[in-house]
Symmetry: C2
């Protein structure tokens, strides 16, 4: 492009002024035409033609104002699940011109909305958020953002640009079906915190237990997850359902607490009791017996999100969104019988 | 201060120009006069008097350009130790106008220097770094920074503004002395990664073993820490010193691996073998037997660093530095005999 042409190229603001609408409305006509009235869109598009406005040149002008910061907004930094995401993200950014900046909203959608506003004001190269339970205002900001947005953890969310995660309901359902296939009959669910993803795992448990004609046996707590809480939840469950012969837990901390409680009560695993955790944290395979769990790839969620954001940082925002399902794997180990 | 006075108040740059030196040299005359030659200092101070330059007005002018970001530069985000620091820092910043931005240099001083340069260019409200093993250039940048700097983790570092940590050599020495006091006689050391703080813990082990006239039994690995590595290190130690009757480990992951290896070999704890870890991560107390360890307060290191940086963000940098020793506590539990 010649210097002259670039100097006189009409901008998004020129189109807005000429059409008598705001710049964001012009942007919306390109990105989300379904959100703009037919009359306004017609007027804007006529101005676009008249001025010879090329949206991509505006997009790259915007891109050039961006910093090299990739924002990573997470609901928690207290557990290994999100630490693995952080680790993957930092590993991918290491040695590049990009830097990761972390925000922690502690499972508060309003705090998340505030962080999204702050992060977007700083013109990031890209933004990574967890799940799709943002407030309406936050979702709108993400949809109108001048950078790409990756939603991680879940696959069953309304996608903005790119979704990288797994199906928690399906993963939990497979784990519970695996317990049934291994001859366990009275299977309980132990869950802490009960955030969105824990709720999805509970839904997977309920679906499979319901399909099998079994009885739901559920012990949950709003408290943060810990091994101590896992032991308490199993004690609660035994108090109400003494003949329970297996548990699926919504994460490995809870599974580990249940495991230690079984050892204290001299309950034999896998013969008389089965346990399956969720996430496959490092320690589980070292235990005697080793702990069965559902493997999920949080590291890759962080790593691949940053990888995609770096690759796409300087390109124009495409139409449409993509979902990348990283899947899961049930790791059947020493705390569950052979199938 | 009247508008007129503030408009005509001489700046640091005026003093520098008039004295024929750089602005950083003028700054150094106030902050680190011992680093400037007598002749230069005399010339600068005469100019300061002549112009009526007031250093504090420059300091507050600089302060007003600061962002609300507190930088937190850590050597790792893969283990619970630094996660606890992060957690404390985020908790303290939550609900304030300050935001935490994390950098991870993966134990590389050159990478840390690069991050310090990037972070300081963004005019942070404060900067938190781990330990005192920065490169010479990084240390110089921190000393000349326009914000307060907190060095966390260790107390035995050359302080810049404020140091918040503990004495790792002393803590390790107390743990090993505690094993001797409990009747263990052939005590080994297991260590992974062997970063600066691990080296200090090893030094504490060596000092106490040396004082007791005992034999050093050491198994270390440059690999990152994990329970699996802990089990391997104990196996290595037993291969070389079969009559070892206790180990002090440089962290809890390694202790847990040694613990599980003892269970696999049916070695009785605490009767025939003692184990002490380092850090007191959550899980240890839940085990049967529960695992002895050295409690350290990483959460408070993060929390108190941010607390101090918020309190001091808008004040002028003081002369002198302070050291806050958070101490440690040996938690004698089920893997060690009664004293």
């Amino acid at each position: 492009m010649s210097k002259k042409k670039s100097r006189y190229a009409p901008t998004l603001n020129d189109v807005a002024r000429e059409s008598g609408v705001s710049a964001i409305t012009v942007s919306r006509c390109f990105r989300h035409p379904e959100k703009v009235s037919d009359a306004v869109r017609k007027r804007v598009m006529e101005t676009v033609e008249k001025l010879g406005y090329v949206p991509n040149s505006a997009a790259s002008a915007l891109a050039s104002r961006r910093t090299d910061v990739i924002g990573l907004l997470l609901p928690s930094l207290n557990n290994n699940v999100y630490l693995d995401v952080v680790s993957g993200a930092f590993d991918r950014a290491h040695g590049t011109r990009h830097a990761i900046q972390i925000g922690n909203h502690k499972y508060s959608p309003l705090e998340e909305e505030k962080l999204i506003r702050i992060f977007l004001q700083q013109n990031p190269a890209g933004l990574i958020v967890a799940g799709g339970e943002q407030t309406e205002a936050a979702t709108e900001m993400l949809r109108e953002a001048d950078c790409r947005v990756v939603q991680i953890m879940d696959t069953d969310v309304d996608p903005i640009d790119l979704v990288i995660g797994l199906d928690h309901e399906r993963a939990a359902g497979e784990a519970v079906a695996g317990l049934l296939a291994r001859g366990y009959e009275r299977i309980g669910f132990l869950g802490a915190r009960m955030d969105t993803r824990s709720q999805k795992r509970l839904a997977g448990y309920r679906r499979v237990i319901g399909d099998s004609g079994g009885e739901e046996r559920i012990a949950t707590s709003p408290m943060p997850s810990s091994a101590r809480l896992g032991a308490q939840l199993l004690a609660d469950l035994f108090a109400r359902y003494p003949d329970t012969d297996a548990v699926f837990t919504n994460n490995d901390d809870i599974a580990l607490g249940a495991y230690l409680e079984c050892q204290r009560r001299a309950i034999r695993m896998p013969e008389d009791f089965g346990i399956v955790g969720f996430n496959d944290m490092d320690l589980l395979e070292e235990l005697n017996p080793s702990l069965s769990t559902v493997r999920t790839d949080r590291y890759r969620m962080g790593h691949d999100s940053v990888d995609r954001l770096i690759a796409l940082a300087d390109t124009a925002r495409p139409e449409g969104a993509a979902v990348l399902d990283l899947g899961h794997a049930c790791m059947w180990r020493g705390t569950t019988r052979e199938a």
